[in-house]
């Protein structure tokens, strides 16, 4: 199969076009971004619809596109369970956080968490939560990128990781949030068009009758296949399914790179409408992935399983090749190359968002506000941000290359969601809604969430695999959850609660009432530079909110 053959020239050419466009955007953005508000929040100039696209671009990783299509191809219905959790999560984001984040924060989730708490400990805790989530998520994406590009284009794994990391850093360092946003918007459009065209090709084969597609997929089920139109083939223990479901539906509301997107719009109203746009885009996308997954089963059959690689990640590209006319034909090569380029753009947009949010935690939170106590200049904060981005990017690339293809991508993404749901989500929600919540509660909550979710994974069956041929047992036989969410999320809340009731707050400078009124009404929210964006772009060292920070 040409998927695994040497260098794929069509793919290289299309990759080059996509990369050229993104670099052009980065140059355009670099001319416009100078202040911190430009660098972290794109000058708050992004509209609700644009941000909806960008959230989709930030959120739909290669794990969503190739991963879920592959899981549906191999296991059927269970792959679709992930999609449902990923989508329903946006209700949590909309009801509990979107507008409130925009109204009360500035650039990072730590701004919101520390608003009415003692700034330095609360900010440090939030930065720790952000960095833990990004660490797992970013390494997972880098490994995924390496594996896919290696398979699709034919270059070596380490070179693929290096290329991904380099472009990611270009966007973030030179173009900040503005370039990252537009890379995410373009990626979302490419991804939606790509999957729509592929779905139409698939549905055309069955006379545009999706039910016939399921029937055909079912007919391709042989005795050795794990495929089923019902559940239970991939997620075998109900408690594990529940645990994963919890991590997905609450974790999205704790993902720093998603929440950071709400600071790029002019006001709370735009933040709210951007979530609804994202729901429709992401929901439409996940419905289409089922056509790709079931279509791959119906068209490629059981014979295609081996060629689809680990987790079925290559099912979608292989299907594209088949739909275009088969291996070796011009149509087949071209369609494969297009889908490969879409997958590459997908990864780039996600990792850029991740690195930007991590560098926000280092530069804006830890350096500017904790170490320098707000006495640094904007110029200094952005310089530190760029250094932080390079360092974080380099570390992630090094770990991805050293850990190699052996790192389990979907497991690490699941872990990132679990850390986000256990550490960031409880602290953020309680800071915004529980009057008595205090600094000690925030710090113990985040620490409990991070330590429990990572600790539980370390003793889980995924790490402590059983002897070959036998079931994985985990370090202790009484604990067999692969995803820690079911236990670590309640522990995160418990940590927040106990820390609060067992301590006395002193020295908080702003009241809960101020945060409460501000988050609910937008009164006193960080301003927008949209009105004077033309001419001098978002580059102005704009308003007094920055001047007096």
């Amino acid at each position: 199969m040409s998927v695994l053959a040497a260098i794929n020239l069509e793919a290289l050419a299309i990759f080059a076009v996509v990369l050229g466009i993104t670099l052009g955007i980065t140059y355009w953005a670099s001319q416009r971004v100078t202040g911190t508000e430009g660098f972290w929040a794109a000058g708050r100039s992004i509209t609700g619809f644009q941000n909806g696209l960008a959230i989709s671009g930030d959120y739909l990783s290669a794990a969503s596109f190739l991963g879920i299509a592959g899981l549906i191809f191999i296991f059927g219905f269970d792959g679709f369970l992930y999609s449902v959790g990923f989508l329903v999560a946006f209700l949590t984001v909309m009801f509990l956080l979107a507008e409130r984040m925009r109204n009360s924060g500035k650039y990072t989730i730590a701004d919101v968490l520390s608003f009415r708490l003692r700034e330095r400990p609360a900010r440090s805790a939030a930065a720790l939560g952000t960095l833990s989530v990004v660490a797992f998520y970013l390494i997972a994406q880098m490994v995924g990128a390496g594996v896919l590009i290696q398979a699709l284009v034919g270059i070596k794994f380490w070179l693929a990781v290096l290329l991904t990391g380099t472009f990611m850093l270009c966007y973030v360092i030179f173009g900040g949030m503005l370039a990252t946003t537009w890379v995410q918007i373009i990626k979302a459009c490419l991804l939606m068009v790509g999957i729509l065209v592929m779905s139409l090709f698939v549905l055309e084969r069955v006379g545009f009758n999706p039910i016939e597609l399921f029937n055909e997929a079912e007919r391709q089920t042989t005795s050795e296949s794990t495929f089923s139109l019902g559940p239970g083939t991939f997620l075998k223990t109900p408690l594990d399914t529940l645990s994963l479901g919890m991590a997905l539906v609450l974790g999205t509301a704790g993902l720093p790179h998603i929440l950071m997107r709400f600071f790029t719009v002019p006001d709370g109203k735009a933040a709210r409408s951007s979530v609804v746009w994202a729901m429709f885009i992401i929901g439409g996308f996940y419905i289409l992935t089922t056509f790709i997954g079931f279509g791959a089963r119906a068209i490629l059959g059981q014979d295609g399983v081996e060629a689809a690689g680990t987790g079925g990640n290559l099912a979608a590209p292989n299907l594209a090749e088949e739909l275009g006319g088969g291996a070796g034909t011009f149509g087949g090569d071209l369609f494969l190359a297009v889908i490969a380029a879409v997958a590459f753009a997908t990864i780039l947009a996600v990792v850029a968002g991740l690195v930007l949010s991590a560098s926000g935690a280092v530069a804006h939170d830890i350096w500017s506000n904790v170490i320098r106590k707000g006495r640094d200049s904007e110029h200094e904060e952005i310089l530190v941000a760029r250094i932080a981005a390079v360092s974080i990017g380099a570390i992630a690339m090094a770990i991805a290359i050293a850990g190699g293809e052996g790192l389990n991508v979907s497991f690490m993404v699941g872990l990132a969601f679990a850390v986000a749901a256990s550490a960031n989500f409880p602290a953020l929600v309680l800071a915004l809604s529980w009057k008595r919540f205090n600094t000690t509660g925030a710090v113990t909550g985040v620490l409990t969430g991070v330590v429990s979710s990572i600790g539980l994974v370390i003793i889980s069956p995924i790490v402590w695999t059983g002897p070959p041929g036998e079931a994985d047992t985990g370090l202790f036989t009484w604990y067999d959850l692969n995803n820690p969410g079911l236990i670590s999320i309640p522990l995160g809340f418990l940590g927040c609660f106990l820390g609060t009731v067992l301590s006395k707050e002193r020295g908080a400078e702003r009241s809960f009432q101020e945060l409460y009124v501000r988050s609910e009404t937008g009164l006193g929210a960080e301003g927008s530079t949209v009105t004077h964006a033309e001419g001098n772009g978002v580059a102005q060292p704009e308003d007094s909110t920055v001047a007096t920070r």
């Binding site: 989508l87 479901g245 002019p266 009404t521 009164l523 007094s544």
Partner: protein
């Protein structure tokens, strides 16, 4: 920075926003109550329906694998209802926010002595301005308005 036209006056008033009074005002309580009357039941509903779906997938494999019509299973149909739920609740919240919550929020802001429209350019809560007052002299440019 056209929005700062009458800004000095507005700014000083806003600096003095009495957050406790704003929080206690009937308009604010009405806003919070109205939002809660929708968000709380909606959240309970979506979490219940979502976890019911997850538990069915975990504990009632056979039922979920049953055919509704040929290859279309109960599980797939229930999954589609989750999508429908997300879209409907999203649009309902959007409509309520625009018709009910936003006007109330504007009223709270007006009563607090600052029109929401004028906020973006100069919103500086007092404590923040004081706390970081020293910082602006140290490097951040002071705004000219």
């Amino acid at each position: 920075m056209e929005r700062d036209g009458g800004g000095t006056d507005g700014l000083s008033r806003r600096r003095g926003v009495d957050w406790d009074a704003a929080e206690a005002s009937p308009e604010f309580q009405e806003l919070v109550g109205a939002r809660r009357r929708f968000v709380l039941p909606a959240t309970i509903f979506f979490l219940t329906w979502y976890f019911a779906f997850i538990l069915l997938a975990g504990y009632a494999e056979d039922f979920m694998g049953d055919s509704v019509y040929q290859g279309l299973t109960v599980g797939y149909c229930l999954a589609l209802t989750q999508f429908l739920m997300v879209f409907v609740l999203g649009l309902m919240y959007l409509r309520r926010a625009e018709n009910t919550y936003d006007p109330l929020a504007r009223k709270v802001a007006e009563n607090a002595g600052a029109a929401l429209e004028a906020e973006p350019q100069s919103a500086v809560p007092e404590s923040r301005a004081q706390r970081r007052g020293a910082a602006s002299a140290g490097g951040r440019p002071e705004v000219q308005s």
